[in-house]
Symmetry: C2
Subunit: 211 residues, 2 copies
């Protein structure tokens, strides 16, 4: 996963399939304002607890956005052909909940079910998936909705090793309770989105099994 | 705050001061990949507990990104000059932690201190502000870091009504414990970013005062 090379930056092409920026102009209390926004897909994420191993299941992946930000923080934001020895790609290997975008006309639980299978390799029916909460994943530029789910699996539900589909490169990882508790208690320096910390804290507050 | 009119959409100007999109190309495990990203500022957010009123302090504001997304969900995404009677702006009034971007060369705690004053009207010294945790606010497109802080204030610390500076239109709101507990337990349909829910859950797990 960390074999990253030939990093280059360029202009956003006008036909980007990933992000569609635009400007919104409006008048609020008599003041004309502009906001520059992005159209993106809604998404789902899933807290997965493995009852067999008594561990939580997460995914790790290289995130280009995090890499760019991490390199910028070290002062080399304008470098083209970034030195990946000086800035090792592991700086941008994130720890996240299993997640995916809503790009099909299916119930959200069904999309969650597919992500659990594709990314993590567990094949479960959608009635084993519980909706936890819904929020706006970005309020500054996207406004997209993310719905968080929870499910429990066992080793018997595993049908593949997971890892994503097409050219996704995703590593599945199981972490024990004491390790995730340490992460949220100390604010350990995880490279994660807030949904990861929110999901872990929600699990520890509501679902943590008695020892 | 909800007096919003003359909503129009247009192309992103190339000199947008808000978002700077670009493409990153790289090779991972032999596969060439593109990622379209945004350069944005890092940010801080602050969980504020008022010891006098025994309430948590939040901010409410109209978020254009959420409005656009809410209208899109109702099927009118391509409308120019959106009908704000049919789509009331209150759809996009968010409930959030006090927060701000890191656009000055100051310690993060000092930036947090300024936001607590500007948005919420409490003037406290930065040694009363505790760092909680750090995460990547967006892993898909921005990778920016958000640092979460916690502080306690009393009514004696209040020096203004808050509300933001320049043309910001921000409402300060105090909510009692039972109300915020309900929000995170039921996943009540708050229009909020994950940092709000994370901050509330962290507070309830770590700082909630004994009744």
């Amino acid at each position: 996963m960390e074999n990253i090379s030939n990093i280059r930056y360029g202009a956003l092409p006008s036909n980007s399939p990933y992000i569609k920026p635009f400007r919104m102009r409006y008048v609020q209390d008599g003041i004309t304002k502009d906001a520059d926004l992005l159209k993106v897909h809604d998404s789902v994420c899933i807290i997965i607890y493995n009852r067999t191993t008594k561990k939580l299941i997460f995914v790790r992946q290289f995130r280009p956005a995090v890499y760019y930000a991490a390199v910028s923080e070290n002062g080399s934001e304008t470098d083209d052909n970034v030195n990946s020895t000086k800035y090792p790609p592991k700086l941008a290997i994130t720890l996240e909940l299993c997640a995916g975008i809503v790009d099909k006309d299916l119930p959200l639980k069904e999309i969650a079910r597919e992500e659990i299978l594709e990314e993590c390799g567990f094949n479960i029916s959608s009635d084993r998936i519980e909706e936890v909460m819904t929020y706006r994943s970005g309020v500054d530029t996207t406004g997209a909705t993310q719905t968080m789910f929870y499910c429990e699996v066992t080793d018997d539900d595993r049908v593949t090793a997971g890892g994503g589909i097409d050219d996704e490169i995703i590593e599945v990882i199981e972490l024990p309770m004491d390790e995730v508790e340490h992460m949220v208690k100390t604010g350990a320096n995880v490279v994660s989105p807030p949904s990861f910390l929110l999901g872990v804290l929600w699990f520890l507050s509501n679902k943590k099994p008695q020892q």
